[in-house]
Symmetry: C2
Subunit: 620 residues, 2 copies
């Protein structure tokens, strides 16, 4: 790797154990080195930079205070765990992060014994860590379990379910609440406001009487925590602050601690450890800490404004993207109909709803990472006469499944789901692939599902979903941009057919794969092999017409970027269309989108080969 | 109805408007009359008695203070809304509650304009009410929206997601937190502990200094609330108590109020109304209040112990039931293997886990109404080497869908789901039917699903799931008891076949429907008509052997107590088994189980008629 003078050789060090031998000065030097690595690597491979820059010192301190893998560290969402990967034997492979067959961008137990639990969806860490801690308690294992979560994860109800159970668990569970100011906004809700109060120095205006009153009712705690709290600069303030919501929930509370000061972090984490009971350690960090452009121009840095509320997700869609087209068309429709409302679960920029927020703020709702609430909230809006449109990533919509059935479908209200990132998403990997929306949405009675192939179709489908359809309607579209070929194609909300006189073979697909299948048809044509293409746009309910037409062919092929059980092809097959189906079986790891699709038998070349009978990839 | 002297004629009164003309004394008399009606009706029709007895005065006060249907009342879970039904024009039909074509046991907007939103699953009311309130705000409608939820509903994360968004919403949303002590137990978690502190008088030990300190930071509120709070007996206490968690979440707080005192309730609700902003009104009620047996023998009443934690669900399964068999077998297995843990989401008695709790309390976890947490928690337990078994109703497992994928399937850990109440459940109706578990569970990669037909099979399947299978395994079984015929049948974990020489027709089913299909075979045999029966027990993954055998018949029929899209028959059909499938399409309302199954074409008679070709019911 060409280490510079004074740089640590992370590949040959015995990590994480060797961290304990470093002086604080060496730790700070290590932190600077790690920041350089993060910036270099993320600038090449993509990923979450600022959240990882925020947790460098915290990660070093965690591995100095705890004994991973005997002590278990569970990272919420996991896009803050890059330093953890560097410090647990994966420095040599770090340059491969998020690339095919390389390191995952999220913790994966099958990648390292130091990754105690998988994470990709938010707000699971307290529950997972509590499970691990409870198991350790049952086994008489006295090691600790540490969950690290950001304030954004607290907007998800599952975090609260976990906290509600953890406080009384009697386990050695430590919850590090990583509060980073950049992800906080008034609009992520009441918890954020509350946390901001905890953090803000100006709010410290208590009297000495009040402090002593609080001291009187402070529960008996270990000596080390008392000592730590008393020695801190803001002892009085800390004592007051910790006697609040989290203590009400049954936790001991340590903090807030400067999350970029390794000495303070070690004292705080050490104090939590000494308590040997469920404890929350609140750590203040700064997203992007130590990033030179940000330091030189902090105003401009903060002004980027491109972080999604509560997630801090830098996933801002470009103007030329499915999400942006969706967002702009929704604004146009909403100007025409004052009943239309837009709802997002902390993905305003990711789903292209920033246009709506800017132009029609009254009817825009960012509910935080709260997909259950979002769906039921849409049910309430619709019951009162509005037309809610919930824009959400396919993989996160999995969280709303019960609410789609219970609060939208049974209610028989009109509501629209903008299902973004449907299909293979690429580098984010198996926790983020949008492969299940068709299988689970088709189990919701009376739903209508569209899967447009180009921007114009997306606009037409959204228009129809809002203005003509009834009940629950989903419009699904992939990550990224439309392909150039498809931009010039027909646009329909029902079905497109490409037929040739005398063809006895038909192939069916929908969404962006239509581009690949059209190319496959050209490849086949060059070899004198002809087949017809049917591309439903309204993919569900099934089309009687399509069923009958497909039955007239000698052979039918389905190609879907979707899990096989519950796929559209399976449903046509069950209705008598004899067909060969290429769909996805199992989870799909991270990698480049095109390469993953090819591996699944869903590239033009693989489709052509399949139809011409020269390959067996992905056969159902 | 034969009204007694002095009884109110609820059928002819102009309700709920006429309530406002009653004196407090008349209200109390009305409350007594309603209690008699509740007790009489529930003793006949079944349903939730104690939760409804607890909300009689609260409901009267709500309809005196608010103007339903212009003001919207959203009942959480909804099994506390019987008085609401009596007071909103449904007294005449109240005797039909929970019977086929009669009133629903839950609020239903299509039953009355006074039912603002459906509810059957817990913890949705804040989100639904916030949606309604936000819509009203957008429309300039100044009416109020009131959500009424019990403390049990607060253990569900969606409530917290709703609260997190409601506090800052600027709507006229009032949340009535109906705290009823009987449903509270230490084991439902930290929130319960916190609420108990709020309620307990002994915890009032604050000094005057502290009170004034709190007063200083109390936000400016309407005069009426100040007046109300000041005139209450415990003004100081109230002022202290309300400066806590809920205020941290951004709400005004009124209470606690005696929920059986109509005057106090009206003052409190009126104060909340005067605030014109998101407000929580905490009301203390007693479950079963006014029920003579409870009043005469309160010790015995409390001692019944038959209320599930946090739900207060009286749904205690009898010894002779699928749930109890499951619970006892799990205890037996857990005595043999110390890794086995039992997890329930507030349904200890409903799922037969009371045996486990009694015998092996260390490995028993009741997490409250928190199905998301429960699944991820199981992932944590399993990752740390335990074998978690999550017993849960089919309909509530819908809440765990994302976690099944993300925290169990991707983690590739070994965990077992005991899917109780799978299939038609009867009187609880469309929000509770277990029709979707097969459709959504089969979309989870690598899952194994069993559907036993008799108790012995359930035991064998559970044994195999725990001791032999890998990964995620679901064992699903219905509400109620095994039928006598099936008790003597074979027990297998793979498949049972009933064949006759020369039969050219086959019928396939699984689970309890096997009993009906076997009867159908006898009916047919009496008329000289023969068919073979195949009953897979391990219903997923699909059986290659079954596929091949079915293909050899002239005609195949599938009968399933399951939603059609995603059903097992659909999957066999997609794999080339030409078959006629009888499954469920759409939601199924409440009614007697046998009658509902008959209506769906799933009784012995209907199956026989279908196979013999003399009926077209339920044809796919």
């Amino acid at each position: 790797m060409g280490l510079k003078k004074e740089e640590f050789d992370l590949e040959s060090m015995d990590l994480p154990a060797a961290l304990k031998d470093l002086s604080f000065e060496e730790c700070r030097r290590l932190a600077r080195q790690i920041r350089r690595t993060l910036i270099t690597t993320v600038s090449k491979n993509g990923g979450h930079l600022s959240s990882n820059l925020g947790t460098v010192e915290l990660t070093i301190a965690l591995h100095r205070v705890f004994e991973s893998p005997a002590d278990k560290i569970v990272w919420d969402v996991g896009h803050q765990a890059y330093t953890h990967k560097l410090l647990t034997g994966r420095a040599g492979r770090f340059g491969t992060i998020r690339t095919e067959d390389g390191l995952s961008g999220f913790p994966r137990p099958d990648e390292s014994e130091h990754d105690a639990f998988i994470s990709g969806h938010s707000s699971t860490s307290v529950s997972a860590a509590l499970g691990i801690a409870a198991a350790m308690k049952l086994k008489g294992d006295e090691h600790f379990t540490v969950a690290v979560l950001g304030d954004g994860a607290l907007t998800g109800g599952e975090s609260f379910e976990g906290l509600n159970n953890a406080g009384k668990s009697g386990t050695r569970l430590i919850i590090v609440l990583n509060y980073n100011e950049m992800s906080i906004s008034k609009s992520v809700g009441a918890t954020a406001k509350y946390l901001a109060t905890l953090r803000t120095k100006d709010s410290y205006h208590k009297t000495k009487d009040a402090v002593e009153n609080v001291l009187d009712r402070t529960p008996l705690v270990g000596q080390s925590i008392k000592k730590f709290v008393r020695s801190s600069k803001n002892a009085f303030k800390d004592m007051i602050l910790h006697s609040t919501m989290f203590e009400d929930l049954g936790f001991e509370f340590v903090g807030p601690i400067d999350g970029h000061n390794i000495e303070e972090l070690e004292k705080g984490l050490g104090a939590a450890k000494a308590l040997e009971c469920p404890t929350i350690v609140m750590v203040n960090t700064q997203k992007g800490h130590g990033y030179p452009p940000a330091e030189e121009n902090p105003g401009g840095y903060h002004g980027v404004g491109a972080f999604d509320l509560s997630t801090g997700n830098p996933d801002v869609v470009p103007e030329d993207s499915w999400s942006a087209v969706f967002g702009r068309e929704l604004v146009r429709l909403a100007h025409e109909d004052s009943r239309i409302c837009a709802v997002t679960a902390a993905m305003k920029f990711g789903t292209g709803l920033q246009y709506f927020h800017k132009e029609i703020p009254d009817r825009f709702f960012d509910v935080g990472i709260a997909e259950q609430h979002a769906a039921t909230f849409c049910g309430g809006l619709a019951a009162a006469g509005m037309i809610p449109v919930f824009a959400v990533y396919s993989t996160f919509l999995q969280r709303s499944y019960d609410q789609l059935l219970h609060d939208l479908a049974i209610m028989r209200v009109h509501a629209i789901l903008g299902v973004d990132r449907a299909g293979i998403v690429g580098e984010d990997g198996e926790t983020h692939q949008g492969l299940f929306d068709i299988p689970f949405l088709t189990t919701v009675p009376d739903i209508t599902i569209y899967s447009p192939s180009n921007y114009r179709e997306l606009e037409l489908c959204l228009d129809k979903a809002v203005n003509e359809d009834k009940g629950l309607v989903a419009v699904r579209y992939p990550r990224g941009s439309e392909s150039a070929e498809l931009a010039e194609g027909e646009a329909d909300t029902d079905m497109t057919c490409m037929t040739t006189e005398g063809a006895r073979i038909a192939a069916v697909t929908y969404g962006r794969l239509f581009g690949e299948l059209a190319k496959a048809r050209e490849i086949a044509a060059e070899r004198g092999f002809k087949f017809d293409i049917y591309k439903p746009v309204r993919i569900f309910p099934l089309s009687e017409e399509l069923t009958e037409r497909l039955k007239s062919y000698d052979k039918v092929y389905f190609f879907e970027e979707c899990y096989g059980y519950g796929s559209i092809g399976e449903k046509y097959a069950a209705r008598g269309v004899r067909c060969d189906r290429t769909a996805v079986h199992g989870f799909v790891p991270h990698g480049a989108c095109g390469s993953l699709l090819d591996g699944l038998g869903l590239s033009a070349e693989k489709m052509a080969a399949k139809i011409m009978g020269r390959a067996e990839n992905g056969k159902t």
